[in-house]
């Protein structure tokens, strides 16, 4: 198949889904590309770092608006491209195409949501079933996830990973020799890198409340930076109301790029712009304007046409008022998990 990546990217910017066979092709080609990437990819500034996106495609478009489009801007994405949001498929599709089209300008790091077990629970699997009528696209993407790198180092000074540190990992070299080409295990260093969180109240490691990975404290951060000759750790993985958070005396930052998370948290988001002299600037932004969001019908569309599932009232979505104006609520996240149900079922709203 002759792949016209520019045409694919164009379609995706217009919010059109790619055909299943095209997805298969871009995933195959991207896997070949990623196979030769180290578990620790070295890049140079300037680069713009993006945190969790979670299928919030409109906010990804916002990121390109404020940060610049590829290839004019170098991008480093820290993972969690899918789940929870309504457009995980479009988000993952466009990022895969951009990586394939501009391999040296786009880096994709694996997040804890780039996993078969997690995407079956948190929405991506269901969204693929709904939009393509089968699990095939989910298989293509989750196979691709196994190839995503685990970390990036900017100018030998900033260590970038999705989650955080591991008690099993003291040096960058230890990460380089890991076998990453598999599903993320429940435990161990690979799990820790994508699941761990910093804890400013602690000095050492502790078991994480998430059920995977660890929490780590100030002494752990200092030791890691010192042993590896670096001065900053950059990660994502945790919601930040202000869009970012700086800890441990500016030795660690969290960048979060999904504004108004799940369409109800009301948080800001940010992207981190790293300059050629190592300067770090958080570019903070709000959720994309309401009037650019799609109507419920458009959100329901699948590859089989806009009413593919006969969803006049929206299969599983509440009739009327769901997306209009300020009608966003937690129920819209249940959409992804509801997609297997008959349209006769009630919508489930989490008013928690």
């Amino acid at each position: 198949m002759v792949l016209d990546l520019d045409a694919c990217i164009d379609s995706l910017f217009k919010r059109q889904l790619l055909a299943e066979s095209v997805i298969r092709e871009i995933c195959e080609k991207t896997k070949e590309l990623l196979m030769s990437e180290s578990n620790v990819v070295h890049v140079s500034a300037p680069v713009t770092v993006v945190g969790d996106i979670h299928g919030q495609f409109y906010d990804l478009l916002e990121i390109f608006k404020i940060g610049g489009y590829c290839p004019d801007t170098n991008y480093l994405f820290l993972g969690d491209y899918v789940d929870r949001g309504l457009y995980s498929v479009e988000t993952m599709s466009i990022l895969t195409c951009l990586k394939l089209r501009y391999p040296d300008r786009v880096q994709l790091v694996r997040g804890n949501h780039e996993s078969r077990a997690v995407t079956q629970t948190y929405g991506f699997y269901t969204e693929c079933m709904k939009k393509y009528g089968s699990a095939q696209v989910w298989h293509y993407f989750t196979d691709l996830f196994d190839y995503l790198t685990l970390s990036v180092v900017i100018d030998n000074m900033i260590f970038c990973v999705h989650g955080g540190l591991s008690p099993s990992i003291h040096t960058i070299d230890q990460i380089k020799v890991m076998d990453r080409f598999k599903e993320i295990p429940h435990e161990g260093p690979m799990a820790d890198l994508v699941w761990s969180d910093p804890d400013p109240g602690r000095e050492e490691f502790a078991v994480s409340p998430r059920g995977a990975g660890y929490t780590f404290g100030s002494l752990v951060v200092e030791k890691f930076l010192h042993e590896n000759g670096m001065d900053h750790i950059l990660r994502a993985h945790q919601l930040c109301m202000e869009g970012f958070q700086v800890l441990f005396d500016d030795q660690l930052s969290t960048v979060w790029s999904a504004p108004n998370y799940c369409y109800r948290c009301g948080n800001l988001a940010s992207i981190l712009e790293v300059g050629i002299h190592g300067e770090r600037h958080f570019n903070v932004f709000e959720a994309a304007p309401e009037n650019e969001r799609p109507s419920p019908t458009e959100a329901q569309r699948s590859l089989f046409g806009s009413n593919g599932n006969g969803t006049g009232t929206g299969g599983g979505l509440n009739g009327g008022g769901m997306f209009a104006g300020n009608g966003m609520n937690g129920g819209s996240m249940a959409y992804a998990a509801l997609a297997g149900l008959d349209s006769g079922q009630d919508a489930i709203h989490y008013f928690l």
Partner: protein, 253 residues
């Protein structure tokens, strides 16, 4: 800790005041009360004051043990008695829970060696409706079931508390969705509240140590952890009751 966290089913989350009773005597006296009555919390009666002065639960006991083993930071607002206790532990003086080294040895034993990976696990298939899970929990008098896929691999945990929580607010049509869909929805909502998603399956491997299991129970605030083999199939379960059964043997010896 507030009283409304659905993860803490079976455990009281009422605030307690450690000043009321010397902590050492508390643990010595209260643990057998919990175990022999099969309850998860007991009111503490202070003979000197001739009144009930608080509640003692498994969470308290676990916190105490973890402090004892210096794996946890002492609480900020510790009382004089608690400070005494911690100092005793640090100086390896005799502590109410029996010999320190024996406790350490147990903490380092694997779950397999403790025999905790041979329980009869009650489970439900992920595709079965929630109603089936409810019926099974009810007829077996358990509050939780492992949710398995067709190959017997652990997908998650479904508990009575989750179901009750949902039914308080919503319609009974939830009873007919699949167990897997149900636990996904629970996970979806919880992650939004905290801004942090949890791992879909809260488990521990049969080769993990008893001490690590305690730490994970404490950190994740769940009532039980499923014990799994390397391939992800369920071999047993470790609940707080199991934890204290193992520990109480040390007290008896």
């Amino acid at each position: 800790m507030d009283g409304s966290n659905p993860h803490r089913e079976g455990l009281t989350t009422l605030h307690h005041d450690w000043t009321m009773i010397p902590a050492g005597k508390l643990v010595e006296r209260q643990t057998p009360v919990l175990l022999s009555n099969g309850i998860s919390a007991a009111p503490v009666f202070d003979e000197a004051k001739n009144s009930f002065t608080g509640m003692f639960d498994y969470g308290d006991l676990m916190a105490y043990i973890l402090i004892l083993l210096k794996k946890m930071d002492p609480p900020q607002d510790q009382t004089l008695e608690m400070r005494d206790l911690i100092q005793k532990a640090n100086n390896s003086q005799s502590v109410p829970l029996g010999e320190f080294p024996k406790l350490q040895a147990v903490m380092q034993t694997t779950l397999h060696a403790c025999g905790l990976d041979h329980s009869n696990v009650l489970s439900v298939n992920g595709n079965a409706p929630v109603l089936d899970a409810l019926v099974k929990m009810s007829s077996n008098s358990v509050s939780s079931l492992a949710v398995l896929d067709d190959q017997g691999i652990l997908l998650g945990n479904i508990s009575m508390t989750d179901i009750q929580h949902v039914m308080k607010h919503l319609k009974s049509s939830w009873l007919w969705i699949s167990c897997f869909q149900f636990i996904s929805k629970i996970r979806l909502s919880r992650g939004v509240e905290t801004g942090e998603d949890q791992y879909p399956v809260l488990d521990v491997s049969a080769g993990s140590t008893f001490g690590y299991t305690l730490l994970k129970l404490q950190a994740t605030k769940v009532h039980r952890l499923w014990v799994v083999q390397d391939n992800g199939s369920v071999a047993g379960v470790v609940s707080l009751t199991d934890v204290f059964r193992v520990l109480s043997k040390l007290i008896d010896n």
